[in-house]
Symmetry: C2
DNA sequence: AGGCTGAGTTCCGGATGGCAACTCTGCGAT
DNA sequence: ATCGCAGAGTTGCCATCCGGAACTCAGCCT
């Protein structure tokens, strides 16, 4: 399956996600190790043992997470063949997965800012076009860069209508 | 404790995080439920039962996560007192926590884009200053808005120096 | 046929989580 | 002063998940 949309996804996971995109995304990548595995693939590791060894995740969990990630369409299995070896699978990002870059970049930026190694950021993100350094921003439709403290969640068009209950972000 | 910096944090968690800010951040907020609990607090829920009931997290886990979040300085315990009741604790965001808004916003945006409810986004983020709609961007120092597919991780000044090993993002 | 290698799978004991019931603490009413 | 109440956890029990190491499996090469 290529990718799941909300409804299929709900059914597949048998979860009531409370109609929230944050929860929906987390049920794709919110399990232990999943985002770190995605980070490794972003960073250029594509093979089972490479990732297991570098990340220190148990082979059992890696195996399961890779299967899930392929299943939801974030990773794609390809074959590679080293000279004199049989062909083996390799895991690559799908186009969907590139949009997780925002999430990883936000986590990276938070860590650099608040848990930063005094020696400086261990990892920087570069723009492959120009080589410049990339960072994450919250931008308002008014054109301004918005600090996190000035962001307020509100209901959107797809909010669940529950007349009897106070409608809060969920 | 107010907030931990990298080294203290490492010691406290007894983890080798592989010198990566993504992993560091995830060890603060990467456990099951933690980001969803933060989302609830961002959304204006501050009390134990409120969060437990709305989110559907078990009281045991909520109790533990709130304790962790206070410990690492993302939430702050305050007292409130309802008329005719004894004073009870309430959980509020610390200034550090506001910078998690980037992470939550990125998760929200991914979910809206790729797992979106056809009815539209259930939650929108607004700029408290002007009421405009806020979204997350990757911006290059060259001034351009960068798609996720054009972002490449590279080593920064704080990267671990391991001469014998290939140095990859970690 | 036998060995090698990468990619998983299996087994086991310990940690974590869900659910529901229980406790604990002040407050106001009896 | 005692009772009951409500919010905020805590505890017990059971199921699931996880880490680590050993094991299996398939194809390529000798």
């Amino acid at each position: 399956m290529a990718t799941l949309r909300y409804s299929e996804f709900m059914e597949w996971r048998e979860l009531d996600l409370g109609n929230c995109s944050v929860a929906a995304t987390l049920s794709l990548v919110g399990e232990r190790w999943t985002l770190l595995i995605m980070r490794e693939v972003f960073a250029g590791l594509h093979r089972f043992d490479e990732i297991a060894d570098h990340l220190g995740v148990s082979r059992r969990v890696l195996s399961e997470r890779l299967r899930q990630l392929v299943e939801v369409g974030l990773l794609e299995r390809r074959s590679y063949q080293e000279a004199g070896q049989r062909s083996r699978p390799e895991y690559h990002l799908t186009p969907h997965a590139h949009d997780l870059q925002w999430v990883l970049a936000a986590l990276l930026q938070y860590g650099d800012t608040h848990l930063g190694d005094p020696a400086g950021a261990p990892v920087l993100l570069h723009h492959s076009g120009c080589g410049g350094q990339v960072h994450v921003e919250l931008r308002c439709s008014c054109g301004h860069d918005v600090p996190g403290s000035e962001v307020e969640p509100g209901l959107g068009p797809g909010a669940v209508r529950v007349p009897s209950e106070e409608a809060t972000l969920s």
